[in-house]
Symmetry: C2
Subunit: 220 residues, 2 copies
Amino acid sequence: MLHLKNVSRIYRMGSGEIRALDDISLSIEAGEFIAIMGPSGSGKSTLMNIIGCLDRPTAGQYLLDKEDVGGLDDNSLAGIRNMEIGFIFQTFNLLPRLTALKNVEIPLIYGGYRRGKGRLETARTALESVGLADRIYHKPNELSGGQQQRVAIARALVKNPSILLADEPTGNLDSSTGEEIIRIFSKLSHEGKTIILVTHDEAVGRYARRIVRLKDGRIN
Amino acid sequence: MLHLKNVSRIYRMGSGEIRALDDISLSIEAGEFIAIMGPSGSGKSTLMNIIGCLDRPTAGQYLLDKEDVGGLDDNSLAGIRNMEIGFIFQTFNLLPRLTALKNVEIPLIYGGYRRGKGRLETARTALESVGLADRIYHKPNELSGGQQQRVAIARALVKNPSILLADEPTGNLDSSTGEEIIRIFSKLSHEGKTIILVTHDEAVGRYARRIVRLKDGRIN
Ligand SMILES: Nc1ncnc2c1ncn2[C@@H]1O[C@H](COP(=O)(O)OP(=O)(O)OP(=O)(O)O)[C@@H](O)[C@H]1O
Ligand SMILES: Nc1ncnc2c1ncn2[C@@H]1O[C@H](COP(=O)(O)OP(=O)(O)OP(=O)(O)O)[C@@H](O)[C@H]1O
Ligand SMILES: [Mg+2]
Ligand SMILES: [Mg+2]
């Protein structure tokens, strides 16, 4: 359902260029649980941003459900992201002036869910599922690093997206809390969701059906 | 050299209170290499902020080299931090508009090191030691997550501080890059520096001479 063909992402800097991704070809079926691994700086987040329609390739083609994403304008890209894709960012990207509950409610608001008890309940349930029931009114700076990470996870899950992109979702979590998160992902995978997970943790990578390893912007 | 006696850190919120630290007593000798571990939300970063003079206890006493830190004003606290303590934050806290090189140079500038080749060389060497020689002119948003983490590490090391506080310094690093960082810490420890390291990674914790485990704001 998801095809990258000869995708490159190049940054021009001063006199040189950085090939963050270099001629990547990758196909992912609907419902797969795939882990992307590799050294720091090898291109994992760059690949996730392209898959998640947050960035465009410099060269090559990205087909999502047979649609050539490179040909879409920014509004259509935003539309795809809001409908289909839940994204957990490596650096969380929470809105600092909003509570955890409000941060998680934001995708529902943008998704046109009607204001009211139902919307709040959906957001609260997502936060409960990641163990934050007693932190829902805290702002990000009133939360620990791993709690912020879990708010970002709840926000990505709240609309039950068909594709979940998770960029190092357990990096700030102890092993037991991390396992709870990966169990949530496994359950979603069994329900048919597509899960693409970047991790540095081999133990986490093992939950995936397939591991794609990057090195210097290329698939190893 | 570092004594916490019955230290608590309490946040008042609405109708209740959160005991982020609850009656902690802990002594750390000069030159120790100690790991602080525990579940997400158990109080590790709060403890680090108090040890690093970035926060004050709500109750109890913190003696640093026999000096009662609680009695000092903000300027004196800032003075201690700049002179003695290198701090690697869980969320990096880099200055977004400055290059990696400039970010690492900042403590030298504040420390009164004279402008010139020597100061730049010191900053560059710190970045080389964490494998970022070819990224020194990148700004934080032009760096991967693990590269940002390593800039934060270089910045903490650049003045060769006698106390290094590292809050989850390998959370965004693959195991091989993470080991390089921990080797740097071990080397500093052998040179007599005091290293206090928060980690979720048992493998990293094993490098320390002693592990202190927190749970719900208390030492286990
Ligand atoms: N400003 C604040 N107001 C209210 N509660 C806070 C505040 N800052 C932290 N807390 C709470 O204090 C507790 C301890 O936070 P701390 O950041 O020390 O945890 P931690 O052990 O570092 O967790 P992690 O492993 O997730 O980084 C958490 O439950 C957190 O929600
Ligand atoms: N805006 C940019 N300009 C220039 N170079 C960039 C930019 N963004 C990223 N890079 C470079 O692209 C490379 C890949 O970055 P990416 O964030 O994809 O790595 P990563 O595999 O996610 O690393 P980590 O495990 O450290 O998070 C890095 O070497 C980085 O320095
Ligand atoms: Mg990354
Ligand atoms: Mg923390």
